[in-house]
Amino acid sequence: MSNVCEDHVFSKVFKTHSKTVFNYIFYKFGNEEKAHDAVQEAFVKLWQNCAKVSPEKAKSYVYTIANNLYLNVLKAEKVRLKHADSLVKDRTHESPEFLMEEKEYKKKLDDAINALPDNQRTTFLLNRIDGKKYAEIAEMEGVSVKAIEKRMHLALKSLREQIDGI
């Protein structure tokens, strides 16, 4: 039986989940430094309690630790995300107007994302950036899949309203 106390098991768990833990905290609070700290904190706790936490439970364990760490302590800051360039390089669209429009849209999207409640933003970004399925996010947040779907629906709705100025 594999045990989290074994170095290779622990390293595997770390490599699989540390980035998501990092992103998860970052989406919530917009603080990169605290997100790094949360990773350290969560996995130290996991290491200290490795005998008590099975590899299957390790994932939700670290999310819970990371989440509780800053709950009611840290005030959410602006989440600064990077925008990758469009994969489709459409020469005809690279007019100054288009670029201007694109830049404006990115800013609107940023603002709209930051205007979301923490839990909607986290759910939305975990899905869009990390490609996490609703079921996975539900597990991380410790809520039902339906609740995540609700958050996602509301997030999309408010983002669109914000961007389109409705």
């Binding site: 770390f14 540390s18 990092f22 350290q40 290491w47 995300l81 990077k82 990115k106 779907e149 669109r160």
Partner: protein, 304 residues
């Protein structure tokens, strides 16, 4: 449209019919653009290997060391406490003065580190610092003792009546309640009483009774009489004579109709109580009865 259809649309869970309906809505273009744009978003860089290394360096690799260190630290703590206790008690014991004392009807002889000798009469106590003896030859005395001091540095005897300082001589100090007598048998003794120094050449005595300096008779021989089992008195109030009697024989003396301030000159034997009692009663014209350890002296003319 089903509940949370936007979420379902994103995860491709809408039925064909629902999808068609959604696509025909005016908001669809906006949502499509939002879907595309958000898929190009990226979080800040995160290096999992580096983070793992940091974790191991800062927390995990140190952890076992901390565990192994702990019992040693605890051991060190205990060892430190024990060391302090041992060192402390060593110094304490070392600074403690040597003490020799005698009970009633008991005598003792003490040889000091420099071979000076002290003979303790009954109910007496001396204390001195064995460790510091070479630097400071000082003996605290309660009671009576005869000193044979080896030649050397200043030798002092401290009593609550005064200090006796000598350089190598033989002398007797009696330091009792209300009674202080120093007798020099050899050499020169200096007595400081009430901050006044008196020099006692051999064959003289210094006597203080109840705070008054009294001229004392000259001692006989080269040692106090008690060294030869005899207590001698020259013009000494009877109460001190009785007190000495009590000390020598471990008895209780009571008096009836006797003025204990009357001066007594004479001596008694320290080994035979009956003889001693007679030695006191005859010259002082008193009578006595013995009841166990109690002796009653009463005026010769009264009673019986």
């Amino acid at each position: 449209m089903q509940e949370n259809y936007l979420a379902k649309w994103l995860s491709d869970e809408l039925s064909e019919e629902e999808l068609r309906e959604f696509k025909s809505s005016e908001a669809y273009t906006s949502y499509q653009k939002l879907k595309e744009a958000s898929s190009r978003l990226a979080a800040p860089d995160f290096d999992a290997d580096q983070a793992l290394q940091r974790l191991k360096d800062e927390h995990i690799d140190n952890a076992p060391k901390v565990i192994t260190l702990n019992p040693f630290k605890k051991f060190l703590r205990v060892a430190a406490v024990i060391a302090v206790l041992i060192a402390g008690s060593y110094f304490y014991i070392n600074t403690l003065d040597e003490k020799v004392s005698t009970e009633f009807a008991e005598r003792s002889e003490v040889v000091l580190p420099d071979d000076s000798e002290i003979f303790l009469n009954a109910d007496s106590q001396i204390s001195y610092s064995k460790k510091n003896w070479d630097n400071k030859r000082n003996v605290d005395l309660m009671g009576e003792a005869f000193f044979k001091v080896a030649k050397g540095k200043k030798f002092t005897v401290s009593t609550d009546h005064g200090t006796v300082a000598v350089l190598g001589t033989q002398f007797n100090v009696e330091n009792r309640k209300g009674f202080f007598e120093v007798t020099c048998y050899e050499g020169l003794v200096s007595v400081t009483h009430n901050n006044k120094e008196s020099k006692l050449p051999a064959g003289t005595s210094f006597l203080v009774i109840n705070g008054n300096i009294v001229s004392a008779g000259t001692p006989d021989g080269s040692a106090p009489s008690w060294m030869n089992n005899e207590s001698s008195f020259e013009s000494i109030p009877l109460k001190y004579v009785f007190a000495e009697l009590e000390r020598q024989f471990n008895i209780k003396v009571t008096t009836e109709n006797i003025d204990t301030n009357l001066l007594f000159t004479g001596s008694f034997n320290n080994t035979d109580l009956n003889m001693a009692l007679k030695s006191i009663s005859t010259p002082s014209k008193t009578r006595f009865t013995i009841d166990g350890d109690n002796v009653l002296f009463y005026a010769g003319n009264t009673l019986q």
